[in-house]
Every structure is written in C-alpha cells, then in structure tokens.
Amino acid sequence: MSAIGKRRWRRGFGPAGSMLLAAIALLAAETPRAQTGTLAITNARILPVSGPVIEQGTILVNNGRITAVGANVSATGAGHVIDAKGRTVTPGFIESATQIGVVEIGLSAQGTDDGSIRPTGLSAAFRVIDAFNPNSTVIPVTRVEGVTRAMVVPAGSGGIVDGQGALVALTGEHVPASITKAPAVMVAALGERGASLAGGSRAAAMLRLREALQDARDYAEHRDAWQEARRRPYALGRLDLEALQPVLRGEIPLAIEAHRASDLLAAVRIAGEFGVRLVLFGASEGWMVAGELARHKVPVVIKPLTNLPDFDRLGATLENAARLAKAGVEIVISTFDTHNARNLRQEVGNAIAYGLDPARALEAVTLAPARVWGVADRLGSIEPGREADLVIWSGDPFELLTTADVVIIAGKEMPKTTRQWQLFEKYRTLK
C-alpha cells in the first residue's frame, strides 16, 4: 500500500529522533565495528561538514569510529590505507523518509510490503522496523550511491498517526545490529492526506490528532485508574497510548506531513499546544511561511524536486529549499522514495541549481538530519569520535556523472555488488 515510491508523492510518512543518551543506550544497538586495526584514507579532499574544507588531508578510522582528521594527520602504521588520489570525501548521506527494508516490490506482489497497514485500530504503536528485512535488494542498490543511513517510516496505518520510524544503517545486518535509533520519530498526517484519513476535512484531521495527544497525556497521568477501568474510554488503545509517550516527553519528534502553508501553521499550533517537538514532512509551501517556521525553530524535511501545482501545494516551487534556508529554517533533504532513494544526491544537486548554498545543501543530507533525528553526536560529520560513515566520490557528489567509488559504514567498507550489477554482468554479453 505504500506510496513512497514511483509516481507522484501523494501519501507520505515520516521520521525523527530523540535526544536522550540513556534512551540511545537502551534502544539502539551499536552499529558494527570495523575490522581491527586502523583504516586510513589519505590524499583526500575532505568535506567534514562541521568545519572548513580540508583540501588535502587524511582520515583515520579505528574500531568503527573516526579517530583523526586533518591535513597533518599521519597514516603511518595504519593496517589498511585507501589513497583517495585527491578525490572528495564526505560523510555518508542520510535519507530521512523511506521504506527501504520494509517494501520490496510496490504493487501486486503479495508478502513483499510491510510498510503500511489497513485500518486495524493500530496507529502510533505501528513499529515498522519490526518488519525490517536486511536482505532487501533495495539496501545495496541505495548504499552504492553513497546513502549510508535511512529513516525507515510507516506509510500509513489507517489513522492520523502512521506510527514510528527508525533510523537504520544500510549495512544489511539484522535488527537490532542495523538499528541506529529506534524509535526515532512518530509520523502523522495533516493536510490533504490527513483530511482523507479523518473523514474528509483538514479540520477533522486536526481534531483527531489533538484527541490522540490529549488521550495519551491523560493516560500517562492516570494509568492506574485506566487499568482499573475508572477512567473515560480513550480513542486509542493501550499500545498506541504508550507509543505516544516519548513524543509527549520530547524524546522523539512528531513528524507531521503537510504541504499547504495553512496546514503547516496548523501543525505548528498543535505542536505548541502539547509542547511536542515538531518536524514537518513535505512542506511544499514552506517558503510561504518560512519566517514563522524559523521563529518556531521547526525543521523541515523536503523533497526539492516538487513543483507541480496540486491543490494541496499550489505554491510548490523548485526554489523552496533555497528560500527556506535563506529564512533560517533548518532544512533536511529527502527523496521520500524507496527504490530510488538512491537519487538523494539528484535532489540536492537541483536544490543547488535553484539557489541553495552548496555547503548548506551538503549539510541537508548529513549533519542536518543527524541533528533533527538526535544523532549529531554520532553521525553527519567527519570529526573524531563520530561513527565512520564515509564516501569517496569520483567527483562532485551532486553531479550525476559522479560515482561513489568507496562507501564505508561504521568503519567497514561496503561491497559494491548489487542484484542489479549481477544482472548487468549476466547480460553483459548475450549468449
């Protein structure tokens, strides 16, 4: 049932992240350790994101983490040296809204789509990561294009709240080894999609979301009474009410999909009512209310190549990213796609072509999503202590003629083979 995919991006979904180190320790298994010994990438043009460009430098990686970065770092004694030969190195890219690992084939392929559910009474509790298939063919296909982490989100539960997303490493390992953070976000819908889920009106969608948050808050305050059936009935069941608690406590953000300027402001209002951390998914008309979004410090996850004027987004423009950034809004760039989440860098390149500052653009797929999802102390930049997600590019990463020559996740060099490459090799000559 997923709509993240081919065609026009009509249904959404959404991800986010938490701040508590305790929660991380409890919920997030460490990504895999690198081979023993130090890996050195030498002679590299390094874009650390968190600091100025290092025109010629070395990166040392040990035990899955970056241990040193700089122009004067020595690779002597490293167990494995990769000579970048002047090529550009960036942090691995983070895709912030996808269904990689939970949808293998989009349509008419029974048993391959665990990314959404028909209305069953479940909503916030729907944890799509429990269905994550590390052997999905989509993982290598995405990884070889320099995407190293992905926020895997539900595409629909039948309710206003879609459920929880998880940030994963695209290493192809099973849960929990591949989990970077889970849950990392709660996803909900307002706007046109919210309206259709709530009976046909945007206003009803607001009401349903408010009801869910009110019930969850009341439940938290009166758990015992509820257990003894001495509390009014709630619109949501126990699992959903529990799942919303990290949102109310501010541990994970609430990502609301909306596009129309008035819906974005409605999302800001409802987030304010409950003091939850808001992230906007989509925000095609974000530029029209960019000042308000900046003032409320609301990050937006946008797909820059959105400019078709639908009634939900008549103001959609390819300049959305540039205009939001100029207004001071934290922007994260996403494909909102699964099979072609690998085109993340095409989204970024076009955002630059339509006015976004290139450094800001790089940040929008590295450090900005790391901040928004609460893992900036682990990912998103090339600094000592960070997990070593690194990509060596044959040229400008945002040019489509450029290849991701080497992809490293948590210190481990990833294989270049994909099912698609194997098909190519099989048919390279016709027999």
């Binding site: 081919k6 026009r8 008549l314 300049e319 076009n350 945002f398 003629l401 016709l430």
Partner: protein, 466 residues
C-alpha cells in the same frame, strides 16, 4: 501527412458524406477549403521570429560530433547553418553563447501532460479509458487540457515536442498525439503538423490486473495475447473489406460500415499509425515482436522496456526503439530487473535508445536522466560520448514518433527547435536558459514575460517561480 493513403482517402469520403447529409454538419455551413477538410488537423503556426545567430557555443547536433565554439543560425523557423557562420543576415539577432551549450529541443515519446494534469484530481483524470481492454477508438487529443501548467514546466526543462499517450490499463489504449510544446487554446493549436498518430498498446501486469480484478478478460498474460491477436485479426478483415469495396468501384450503397476502433488498427496495418507498446519484460517484448510479424505491422517503440537489455539484439534486428527510464525499478515485479545500464546496453547494441519520462516531474529533467545512464554505462565499461547520448533525447525519439525528417537534430532545413543550456546539459547544475521552437524564442529563463502562464495558475497565488 494527415494519414494520406488509405485512411486519408476514407476520411475524405466520410467528410463528403457528412457535409452532404449530416444534420450537425448542416448546422455549421462553414465553407471548407481542401486544407480544412480534416477538422482535427493541426492549427499550429510557428510564432514570428527574426533570424537568430547563436555564437561561440558548444553544440551537440545529434547528427555528428560535438562542435566547440560553434555557431548556429536560425532563419525562417529552420536551422539555416551550423558550424561556422561567416556572413550572417544583417538583421540577425546575435546571441553570444560563450560557455554555454546548445542542443536540439528535447523530445519525450511518453508523456501524459494534459491528460493527467496538475492539479492531479479526479476532475482532470482523463488518461485511461479503463472500460474495455480494447479502446483503440479513443484519442488522447480529445482529453488534452491545453491549460495544464505542466506544459510550461516541461518547456523550462527544454522539452519542445512530446507525445501524449493514453494510459496502459488496456491492451489497446487508444491513439497518442504528438504536440509542439507551445501554448494553445485548443489541442489542435499544439498538434505537430505532419506527425503521425501513435497507438498505445500495453503488455503485462496492468491489463491483466485491471480486467482480471473485474473477473473479465484478460486476467492472465495469455489472455492479453489472445486479446491482441483477436483484435488484429478483426482489423485485418476490416481492412480487407474496405480494400475490396474501393477496388469494386466504391459504390456508396455498398459502403462498409465504419468502425472507429478497427479503423485505428487498420491504419497501423497500413503503416500510418505508429505502435507505441508499453512492455517491461524481455519475453513479452519478444512475444509482441512475434505478434507484429504475424499480422504484418511494425512496432515503433517499446515503452519502459525495463528489460530491453535482455533482448537488445532483437530490438536492433527489428529496428524497434526502446523508450526507457534511467533508473526506475522495483515498483512492481515486472520492473524488478531494471538496471541502470539498460540504456547504455541498448545503445551499444546499435538499437535505438530513448530516454522517456512518463512523468510530469521527470519530463522537466530528461537531460539528467541521460546523465545517470551515461554514468552507469561507464561503470560497466561502456563509454558513451555526450554527442551520442544527446541522441537519446532528440533524434531517436523523433524517429520513434515519425518526425525525424522535421526535427530532432541541428541540421540545415530542419525545424529550429533549439535549447541553449547554461552549461553542460549533463550537469545537475545546468538549466535551459533559452528554448526556441521553429526559430521563435518560447522561453527565456531571465525574462519572466516569456514564462508560460497557463490559465489555471494565473492569479491563484502570489507570484511563484517554479
């Protein structure tokens, strides 16, 4: 080229009958000249233009190697000269294009602009007549909404010509129409003069899913094939009936009944309508080639052709084009074996490779899709020059649409459909700066007055630069 031979003759006969006795025609006593006898004929006229000399550009002509620091002269709506122009007309507008690149206008063989417009709502959803597996009688041009704002967005991406096709729910979806990407009040104002109609056919999952789910035929791939063969057999007999009637003196009293569905298929058998066949899987493309052989028609292009690389030898041998995406895959099982080297392998095999969009967003960036295909090919050891890759977006689609003598390359005498790019068209950062159609400047990125405003977007919001 308004379907001259068989269908053209028949249309003339029918017009004569209508004019004589049809009550509706009688209410419109408009005198018709011979040229106006086809009420559906193109009413497109090139916009006024002055001679234009583009100087010092890197030119990809789609007809030869790259020309560095080259000149291109447009005059009277045609390409007048390419290479070095020493004595330009005195009244020529001179554009210094140093550092810029020039290509033919881009051509998309597969679009649904106007039939699936923006806004994408039910009221405007006019692309798929999903009521019968054979709707060869419907025509996309009768659904095209000329006010679709997507046309203007595609123009800003360098698209000068595009084929609008019906959807793929049916075995025979109906006629496609080739348009100039110009504003018009009617679809006829946009119709590419001299372009043949297309016939949309569809293989595989879509027809069997749509009709199978209604418990009607086709519900399987074998049902699909039976449906094609049944229709072609009927068309063969229909065509034969008309042929005999004409040979026997065309006696009005004996005139066979006209069947719009079979008329379209018969025109395919006459080679006047070109088949555009939605087909993903290699084995199904081979099957469709066999059906074409059985009934004596030609397939102009497979569309999507996600597994074209597996049968690229058959495509080359049969002179069948493949209109492909750079990287769409996996959204259904018949797209699961999509590989990014598809276009490069088809090209390398000497077959006619085309980059198509089938998408209102992708059509704005066909050049970027080509860049992805160049790179994937290179990763597989297949080197493709820009001068060759540009053919995927220009002369090859022109060939598939039957308009390659009119447009698709920068050669003297051809229509002056031209794009000036801010830089290498295969760079993500390059944008179409100026777009000419038949020598007239239709889009200038730096001149908002030229940015096409469709009625729908007029006044609906404050100024939005898309």
């Amino acid at each position: 080229m308004q379907l001259r031979s068989w269908l053209g003759r028949m249309a003339l006969a029918v017009v004569a009958i209508l004019m004589a006795g049809d009550p509706i025609a009688g209410q419109r006593p408009r005198a018709r000249t011979a040229a106006q006898e086809d009420p559906w004929a193109s009413t497109y006229t090139p916009r006024a233009s002055r001679p234009t000399l583009i100087r010092n550009a890197t030119i990809l002509t789609a007809a030869g190697p790259v020309i560095e620091k080259g000149d291109l002269l447009l005059r009277d709506g045609k390409v007048a000269a390419v290479g070095t122009v020493d004595n330009p007309p005195a009244d020529a507008l001179v554009i210094d294009a140093a550092g810029k690149w020039v290509t033919p206008g881009l051509i998309d063989t597969h679009s649904h602009l106007g039939v699936y417009p923006s806004p994408g709502i039910e009221s405007l959803s006019d692309g798929n007549e999903m009521t019968n597996p054979n709707t060869a009688e419907v025509r996309a041009e009768d659904s095209v909404w000329p006010q679709d704002p997507q046309f203007g967005l595609a123009l800003a991406g360098g698209i000068t010509t595009l084929q609008i096709l019906p959807g793929s729910a049916n075995l025979f979806g109906g006629r496609g129409v080739t348009l100039k990407n110009v504003p018009g009040r009617t679809v006829q104002d946009m119709k590419f003069p001299g372009a043949p109609y297309g016939l949309k056919m569809a293989c595989g999952e879509n027809p069997k899913r749509v009709y199978g789910s209604r418990n009607s035929s086709p519900a399987t791939r074998m049902g699909n094939v039976a449906g094609y063969r049944r229709a072609w057999q009927q068309a063969t007999e229909y065509r034969e009936k008309w042929r005999r009637w004409r040979e026997n003196g065309s006696d009005e009293k004996e005139r066979p009944e006209r069947n719009l569905q079979l008329e379209t298929l018969a025109a395919v058998l006459d080679g006047e309508i070109l088949v555009h066949n939605h087909c993903y899987r290699a084995d199904e493309m081979a099957t469709m080639i066999d059906i074409a052989k059985e009934f004596g028609y030609r397939i102009s292009s497979f569309h999507h052709a996600v597994e074209a690389y597996k049968v690229r030898d058959l495509l080359a041998a049969g002179n069948v084009c493949a209109s492909m995406w750079a990287d769409w895959w996996g959204f259904k099982l018949e797209a699961f074996d999509g590989i990014t080297q598809n276009i490069g392998l088809v090209h390398q095999a000497g077959a006619c490779a085309i980059v198509h969009s089938d998408d209102p967003s992708g059509i704005q960036r066909l050049n970027q899709e080509a860049a992805k295909a160049i790179r994937a090919a290179a990763e597989g050891g297949i080197t493709i020059d820009r001068a060759d890759a540009i053919r995927w977006l220009t002369i090859n689609p022109a060939k598939a649409l039957g308009i390659d003598k009119l447009t698709g390359s920068l050669e003297p005498g051809k229509g002056a459909d031209v794009v000036i790019w801010s830089g290498d068209p295969f760079s993500t950062y390059s944008r179409a700066e100026q777009v000419f159609i038949d020598g007239a400047l239709m889009y200038d990125r730096h001149d908002p007055a030229t940015h096409p405003q469709r009625d729908f977007t007029l006044g609906i919001l404050p100024e939005v630069s898309r």
